[in-house]
């Protein structure tokens, strides 16, 4: 089988023939068994191609990839936003500061009967870190975030460069949280997304705790 249309059948199949050629080929097909058969086979090839399953490699390539991009075992199991390290005295001091902050907040609430204004606690340099209200559906999480933000918002506790790093990492985490929340709104039962959101919220708390610890250590 090899008539003038044989070489044009794929173009016809893909809708790429000029209208006049397409009309002529369609007029030809009813009288040409060979072209009809070939066209059907080509159509099945395309269908097969689109139905091919993707298969993973026989061996896991991740260890090699991780090695090549310089991810150590520690880096593979801990997010890179953990960039602070502390001495034992610093951690001890930080825990005292956190306890005082929490206790102080409770004392203020009990004494005044009102929630302290955020401006009482927030320095201009850390104002960008405050976004607890972005999570109205999780009051406990928002409260924890607010507590920690107040702890790190004391003027002069963190230098500008540190605040900038923290703010940048928080923006990334917040973006991840918002994306997960948005995705969950469309698919509330998605277990992966729920897990992902929980991980990101924990990540935010962890970062804020570290920042609060650092702020306490420097005060």
């Amino acid at each position: 089988m090899n008539d003038q249309w044989t070489e044009r059948l794929s173009e016809y199949l893909d809708g790429e023939l000029a209208p006049a050629e397409q009309t002529a080929l369609e007029a030809h097909l009813p009288s040409c068994d060979a072209c009809r058969t070939t066209l059907d086979e080509l159509r099945r090839v395309v269908t097969n191609a689109r139905a091919l399953d993707d298969r993973p490699p026989a061996a896991d390539l991740w260890p090699a990839v991780a090695g090549r991009i310089g991810l150590s075992a520690r880096a593979r199991t801990r997010p890179a936003v953990r960039r602070f390290s502390f001495t034992v005295p610093q951690l001890a001091a930080a825990s005292v500061v956190l306890a005082l902050v929490s206790g102080g907040g409770a004392w203020l609430l009990g004494r005044r009967g009102t929630v302290p204004k955020r401006s009482d606690f927030v320095s201009r340099s850390t104002a960008g870190l405050l976004n607890a209200s972005a999570y109205p559906g999780d009051a406990r999480f928002a409260a924890q975030v607010a507590d920690l933000e107040r702890a790190i918002a004391q003027p002069g506790r963190l230098d500008t460069a540190t605040v900038r790093v923290i703010a940048r990492n928080l923006r990334i985490i917040d973006r991840a949280i918002r994306s997960a929340q948005s995705a969950l709104a469309a698919d509330p039962g998605n277990s992966y997304l729920n897990l992902h959101l929980a991980q990101e919220m924990r990540r935010k708390l962890e970062l804020l705790r570290q920042a609060a610890t650092l702020a306490g250590a420097r005060s």
Partner: protein, 192 residues
Amino acid sequence: MELTTPGVATLRRDPDQRALGDAETADAALAASGDGRAFERLYRAHVARVHSLVRRMVGPDHADDIAQDVFVRAWTKLATFRGEAAFGTWLHRLAVNVILARRTTIGTERSRYDDSADILDGVAGRPAAPELSMDFEEAIGRLPDGARQVFVLHDVEGYRHEEIADMLGIVAGTSKSQLHHARMALRRHLER
């Protein structure tokens, strides 16, 4: 990705992936900040597709190495991912670029885009009996490099001839010709 072809069902790919796509965009942002766990999640989600693309484009011998190259390149380029397209789309295009760049080092050269009628005829040889039928994937792998790459990019991955021509440095007419010859060869290996 959806393609419509006369007489061929609209198929492929990643149906209803919007929610997952948002999570992957977030993971990409985290990975760009150095989060290895986020990048590993992206790797796990996409390694099968990337490896399959590589294997179909260049054959199994170099597939592991080049698939690794794709993810290493992705790690270094994450900052350029803006979330305007799905992460999978971004990664896929990056993978194609890595594969095409590696062609020169694995012996796939521009000259191979010339029609190789003899080789195509060899692939097209109709098996004598059903038990001798070649696996469709294996048949793709036996196509000449040029025809195979055009076929994979067009029929498997859904690129247009103009895009393929641009990627491969050929003209669209050559892409169409290679595609037709590849299909003609592969129709001999359809399941009956």
